[in-house]
Symmetry: C2
Subunit: 146 residues, 2 copies
DNA sequence: TGCGATTAGATTGTGTACAATATAATATCT
DNA sequence: AGATATTATATTGTACACAATCTAATCGCA
């Protein structure tokens, strides 16, 4: 077997799928004024508001180089507020604004629409989810828990 | 089920895994002077030299906005040459230099090392490859076959 | 053959993603 | 208590990725 043949690669399909996912989400998220990474950040915050930048990074495996500008833009859109923690001044706490909280209602349609779009792929995606998580763990998760 | 809960997302694990893969490849590819996307382009060319930018894009689901600068940098490194096709002047043909061809020898170790690194994840990755390819098809593949 | 439609790649603009580095704050050790 | 080590985030620099748009070349149709 030719280890350098594109069709024999195991990682490339993941890469290609991730990009396809991003492209598929974009028009729908654009209606909410969000990009896919921003949407992921909002998911984290809708789940637990007022967490640190570090915590968001740990959940999403993204570091401050990515998150700082991203959060700045979310703040500029009036969806979040960033403040320095009083307990530890190195920490940034990210809180949803009322508008940010309200956006959740509109956002509910996103996974529903995407789910419908890739309905026939869903069963296998459910099946591969755990393996993908394991892979992230094995390879090292990036973000601020490095 | 909360459709907006991060752990319930089916796409996020793919996104996270793709980024983890990129991070895992980077140090090794850096020794060859390549980035992961550049490495993918080289895979395509090692397989079939002298193809069009469009063909590379179709294989990798990347468009000219991404490929043009990427190929420019590969050309600057002396690994490829870009020429205008005589049959169709809109087309760019990308050919490996001798140095580009020679790099394949050093590149063989990359998949081997990565494979070793994620050995225990490999069986499931083999299993999910087809499903990931289907997903790319379903969502629309991007690149220049849009 | 001429003209409108389509295509290939370049370009512009925006938003990531991450390595490396810097600065200030906190933790740990002696 | 003081010094050193570590940590959180910002910043800098580089390389993507892709939508939108542009320009020149080619295709398809009347």
């Amino acid at each position: 077997m030719d280890v350098l043949r594109l069709d024999n690669q195991l990682c490339f399909p993941i890469y290609a799928a991730a990009h396809a996912i991003g492209r598929a989400y974009a028009p729908m998220l654009d209606e909410l004024g969000l990009t896919y990474p921003q949407y992921l950040v909002m998911l984290v915050l809708w789940e637990k508001d007022g967490v640190g930048l570090n915590d968001i990074g740990a959940r999403l495996h993204l570091d401050s180089g990515t998150l700082t500008p991203l959060l700045k833009r979310l703040e500029a859109q009036g969806l979040v507020e960033r403040t320095r923690s009083t307990e530890d001044e190195r920490r940034i706490v990210v809180a949803l604004t009322a508008e940010g909280k309200k956006l959740r209602q509109a956002a509910v349609k996103i996974p529903l629409k995407l789910g419908a779009k890739m309905a026939r792929a869903l069963p296998k995606m459910y099946a591969m989810r755990g393996a993908l998580r394991d892979l992230v763990k094995i390879l090292g998760s990036g973000g601020d828990d490095r």
